[in-house]
């Protein structure tokens, strides 16, 4: 899951990114509305955390222009203003959710997960593909009854797969949703993480859930690999 943080206060933005990365999410920072517009336009973010008070074009305007540009990533507005008119204006400008500063970090994470769930049409907080289960909130993965230990990045890649079971995902798509701009060496990082994942979720169980689609990318089988 990849998140764009639009926040002019550098320290705040850094803190949010730090926390998201700890959760295995990929996060980029846009300190200004203008930058947020091109970043969100060029990358398919799973969520955008948008501060209302921005220099230049403000959060409402960013929201409106993103929607006008056909960017439909879910937007979580973050603001120090809690008046009802502000909240109404934010939601009407196209935001999906609203969080007032000072917020609880746990709540920010929960709302981001809820937003991701909503965009993918999921209802259950747990993702299930065959007998594979992934709980984004608790960071746990099971195959059947057995829990599987994954690193944060492995977890993030598996989450991308599990949100789109059966779909062929290109290396670029996987990169886009699981890594942020700060990863420079991207040549074969996707392949190596897929290898790591197979070693943990398939090999011990004798399953083949992640398939290589030649020339296109990878696919997580909808039956979870247990034929």
């Amino acid at each position: 899951m990849r998140v764009l943080i639009v926040e002019d206060e550098a320290k705040m933005a850094g803190l949010i990114r730090k926390g998201l990365r700890q959760e295995g999410m990929a996060a980029d920072i846009a300190p200004k509305g203008e930058e947020a517009l091109w970043m969100a336009g060029s990358t398919e973010y799973d969520a955008i955390v948008l501060d209302l008070m921005l220099p230049g074009i403000d959060g409402f305007e960013v929201c409106r222009r993103l929607r006008d540009d056909g960017v439909y990533s879910p937007i979580l507005m973050l603001t120090a203003r809690d008046g009802v008119p502000d909240r109404v204006a934010g939601l009407d400008a196209g935001a999906d959710d609203y969080l007032v500063k000072p917020f609880s970090y746990a709540e920010l994470l929960a709302r981001l997960r809820a937003l991701a769930r909503r965009t993918n049409g999921e209802r259950s907080p747990e993702l299930r593909v065959g007998d594979l289960r992934l709980d984004p909130a608790r960071h746990q993965v099971w195959r059947g009854d057995r829990e599987i230990e994954l690193s944060a990045k492995e977890f993030a890649v598996l989450e991308v797969f599990m949100r789109r079971p059966g779909e062929v995902l290109s290396r670029f798509q996987l990169l886009e949703h699981a890594w942020d701009y700060e990863y420079e060496n991207r040549s074969n990082i996707v392949d190596s993480y897929v290898r790591l994942l197979r070693r943990k979720i398939d090999r011990p169980f004798g399953t083949k859930s992640i398939q290589t689609v030649r020339g296109a990318g990878y696919r997580l089988r909808e039956d979870g690999g247990r034929a």
């Binding site: 002019d8 206060e9 803190l15 700890q22 120090a80 000072p102 917020f103 609880s104 970090y105």
Partner: protein, 452 residues
Amino acid sequence: MSRIPIRLRVTLAFALASAVVLAALGWFVYARFDSELSEQIDQSLRTHGDDIASLVASGDLARNTSLLGREESFAQVLTPDGRIYASTPQLGSDPQITPAEAARASQSSFIVTRDTVRSISGQARLLARPADGPDGRLVVVAAASLDDRNDSLANLGTILLIGIPVALLLASMAGYVVSGRALRPVDVMRRRAAEISAAEPEARLPLPEADDEIRRLGETLNRMLGRLEAAIERERAFVDDASHELRTPLAMHKTELELALRYAKTPEEMRAAISSAIVEVDRLSQLAEDLLVLARSAEGKLALDLRRVGVAGLLGDLHERFSARIAATGRSLVVEPANGLTVEADRLRLEQALGNLVENALEHGGGEITLRASEGGGQVAIHVEDQGAGFAPEFIDRAFERFSRGDPSRGGDGTGLGLAIVDAIAQAHRGSAHAANRESAGADVWIALPER
């Protein structure tokens, strides 16, 4: 009197005035009626007297005493020494006046009121006059009853005694009603005023349509409500801004601590998070401190310990406080000589204000920072100048407003209150704060204080 409600007071005054007017009117009508009636009776007595006198003159009287009587009047003819010469039967054979009166009446006529006259019930009016006949000078006495007149007067008196109080009562009631109506706009305003609270500061009192004292009072009160509304609005905006400004550092503080609690694994990570959190707390403390100064000064309660302060010494202290920090950034702080200028000021507050200015020059300005004092127009101005980019032209007018920041990205650790505090401190000293861009380059911010 002043403790009686105004409506009752107006009514009482009105009733009193009405009572005086009605009583005077009653008395006048009564007196006028009385004299009118008396005059009529006297007139008819005189006519009767004239008739009899002509009877006496013609000598017919001796033959026809019945001519003396006429309707309700009665008459006698006496000799000047008071004996009966002729009389209507009703008056009988006793003379109705004494011989002395008869003697007087033989000279000139007179009219008197008698309480008793024979055959006349009640009071009577009596005319006595001389009349010359064939038998020489005689005295004619005619009498008429005052009964009718007295009855009429008594009736009139009764009517007035009942009518005047009734009229007075009706007038007073009308007065009470009218004064109530006149005062109704006041009551409407009062009721509205009782409902107005800080929750609806835009509310105003209803005004009567007539351009009178009550409307003017209402307009004055409404203008007062307007001033209060503006004050409440300023207060509200300040609280709003303040809470908004507190939220950002609080959010950071909270996030910092939550992240540490969630993810920090080593003591070093924990320590780094705590140090960073302490920076946030410092910033919050500074903000709280600044807000307090502003709130106090807005209430005019900024306590000042006013003393004579030498400007040279003050600038020297500032130089000492900042020079090391400024030098560390590769810049310099220059103090120009202040030539024995003094101001009356709270030294700590003035130093705080100037310190904020130096801090700003250090944070947002560039090049050499100059502290310079000058006098003119009964004021001492203390300037803090730098050689940086100066103020953005659109910011200069708002520079001293609370929470306004020249740098729109809100960079730095500033609270946006530094210059607002400078302004507040200057005003508490009955001075003023100003900002401008220097002609060469950089900003010039100064505090002007009354010279001492």
